[in-house]
């Protein structure tokens, strides 16, 4: 076997590789650019963008846990106008498909952001964050209610015009196949899973939560086996038959981790927390997946998707 075909078909987009960076864990691209060639990524997902600028939560926003971390950044971002004015032009420098992650407090806010961004060529698509556990309104409530998911997904899909829409699911539900199905029926082009688990760390000396926001979202290797299970479940129960690709992630640090997600049913994977430890993780994993495929005589990386026996 000479060459492994690392390109994937992701909801009609042909992407260079099956590895994305996850929202909120890779800045606005320039920070990561110091460490690797982000042009090799399958996709780059921005931090959540909201209609208004958000300062985010007070500190501490971060606390480490066993093999994981909690974050309660609070969707800190420059707001959509400033994003368009200041960040978007920079994206032109990269040969990477950019996906803008959208968040909001009301459905109208989501729609407004999508409408404002729909016209820009530099943007390959949107990731709909209906699952961020760190904002008081919206967020988590949207993501757990199938009806609201349907409403918001179809509205944003419409507002986004021809842009690819990826709906990001929360794991904080009884049956994730039901929320996945709601998003698919509403016309989402792809699913992203999973976002973080709501969690808390208490400082036993002060008897207060460590995070200023009290709770935060658990990410990192700790959650990986749950994420793999959920990806496999959604793949088997809804995504495969609907032919909707899954962007899988949660705790990926190594090639082996990424391959687990692909085998479980993901078409591509996203790297979040791991980039904090080795900023070039995503690139190393692209190379690693190529090696893995060669070793296992897999010609197209797409053949791995859902190949669980």
């Amino acid at each position: 076997m000479n060459k492994v075909d690392l390109t994937i078909d992701f909801a009609g987009l042909k992407l260079k590789s099956p590895v994305f960076t996850a929202s909120g864990t890779c800045g606005y691209a320039d920070e990561l650019d110091d460490f690797m060639d982000i042009g090799r990524l399958g996709g780059f997902i921005t931090k959540s963008i909201t209609i208004e600028k958000r300062d985010g939560n007070p500190v501490p926003r971060i606390v480490e846990t066993n093999s994981g971390m909690l974050n309660a950044i609070g969707l800190a971002n420059v707001g959509v106008e400033k994003f368009i004015a200041e960040k978007l032009p920079l994206l032109k420098n990269y040969k990477t498909p950019f996906f803008v992650n959208i968040a909001g407090k009301t459905i109208d806010e989501y729609i407004a952001v999508a409408e404002k961004l729909a016209q820009f060529e530099q943007i390959a698509g949107f990731e709909l964050n209906i699952s961020c556990p760190n904002v008081k309104k919206g967020g988590i409530t949207f993501g757990t209610d199938p009806q609201l998911i349907h409403q918001i997904t179809s509205a944003v899909k419409k507002a986004g015009g021809k842009k690819i829409l990826i709906t990001k699911l929360t794991p904080n539900v009884t049956d994730i196949s039901i929320t996945a199905k709601a998003a698919i029926e509403a016309g989402t082009d792809a699913l992203s899973m999973i976002n973080t688990f709501t969690a808390m760390v208490i400082d036993i000396e002060t008897r207060k939560p460590v995070l200023a926001n009290r709770t935060g979202g658990l990410s990192g290797p700790a959650i990986k086996p749950i994420a793999v299970y959920l990806v496999n479940k959604v793949y088997n129960e809804v995504a495969k038959s609907a032919n909707v690709p899954i962007l899988g992630g949660g705790g990926i640090r190594s090639t082996a981790d990424a391959v687990e997600f692909l085998i479980a049913g993901a078409t591509a994977v996203s790297i979040g927390t791991a980039s904090f430890i080795y900023p070039d993780t995503a690139i190393k994993i692209i190379d690693g997946i190529e090696d893995y495929c060669r070793r296992h005589k897999i010609e197209r990386v797409g053949d791995l998707t859902g190949s669980l026996k």
Partner: protein
């Protein structure tokens, strides 16, 4: 502030030259770097830092872990830890980095077991260091406890210029300091328990000195690093006396590289007067005191 971020930051391997306890609280870790790493760290300013990967080092054996850290020691860490440097020496394509550190939790417990020859991964140099203002003729360093290390590095850099330097160093007690004076610098020590030097807070000692010595404030500058509450005090005094002041802040950092937005520092935009967050790791860790909302 003059931008002093090196463009060449990266992920590098460093190998341990020495690791030894100095005093009651501090350990000194010396690292050798070479090639690209040495190049990258060549222009590092005092106050810049690096992110250390310590999760693979071993824990000290049970009996060597202080009681109060026993439960913390059990935590399996994944994130890197930020450390600034007390000294950096680069010659050609080789270099030596020196870190003074205190043992506080799972990462620094692991740091303690590093021994000569061990290799660790570091990311750096990161952030913006102290900016040495050439037109100032008096540099006043104010260090508290764990804040001493980067000011040692700064003192060394200052000693290369013509700036007169005086250092105020505070600690809980004398034995908790990494050194009893800063090399080539007039050093005034204060301790909470009076076991060495002035008895009381370093801020009180600083104020007393300013009142007594009446330095030319337009030619003076304060550089400070230590507990946030101490730095807030120093900033206040600096404001009262009208002396420019740079503070080196600390935040819990998940990345150190501007990716996570975890390390927010509330700042006032000098132009718009609006409050907003900057990032400690990227915009700092050194800030002008008058932009920080303590």
């Amino acid at each position: 502030m003059e931008k002093c971020t090196s463009k060449k930051k990266g992920v590098f391997n460093a190998s341990v030259l020495a690791n030894e306890q100095i005093g009651e609280c501090f350990y000194r870790l010396s690292l050798a770097i070479e090639g690209q790493a040495a190049e990258a760290f060549n222009m590092t300013k005092p106050g810049q830092f690096a992110e250390f990967e310590l999760s693979n080092a071993s824990l000290p054996s049970e009996e060597k872990i202080p009681n109060e850290l026993a439960d913390k020691a059990l935590r399996q860490i994944i994130l890197r830890r930020p450390f600034s440097f007390s000294d950096i020496e680069i010659t050609g394509n080789k270099g030596k980095l020196e870190v003074l550190y205190c043992v506080l939790g799972p990462a620094t417990l692991r740091m303690k077991t590093l021994s000569p020859g061990d290799k660790i991964s570091i990311i750096g140099p990161l952030g913006n260091g102290f900016s040495i203002e050439r037109e100032k003729t008096l540099a006043i360093l104010v260090a508290g406890g764990m804040g001493v290390p980067p000011l040692l590095h700064l003192a060394k850099e200052l000693s290369k210029s013509k700036t007169k330097t005086i250092a105020f160093v505070g600690a809980k007690s004398g034995s908790q300091l990494p050194c009893s004076e800063i090399k080539n610098v007039q050093t005034l020590i204060s301790t909470d328990d009076g076991s060495m030097g002035f008895k009381g807070f370093v801020t009180a000692m600083l104020k007393e000195w300013l009142v007594k010595e009446k330095p030319d404030v337009s030619k003076a500058i304060i550089y400070t690093c230590g507990p946030e509450i101490m730095m807030a005090g120093v900033a206040k005094i600096a404001g009262e006396f009208g002396i420019g002041c740079q503070v080196s802040l600390e935040r819990v950092m998940a990345c150190g590289t501007g990716l996570c937005q975890g390390c927010a520092v509330k700042c006032i935009d000098k132009k718009t007067k609006e409050a907003g967050y900057k990032l400690c790791c990227k915009d700092g860790p050194v800030f002008w005191a008058d932009e920080v909302v303590f």
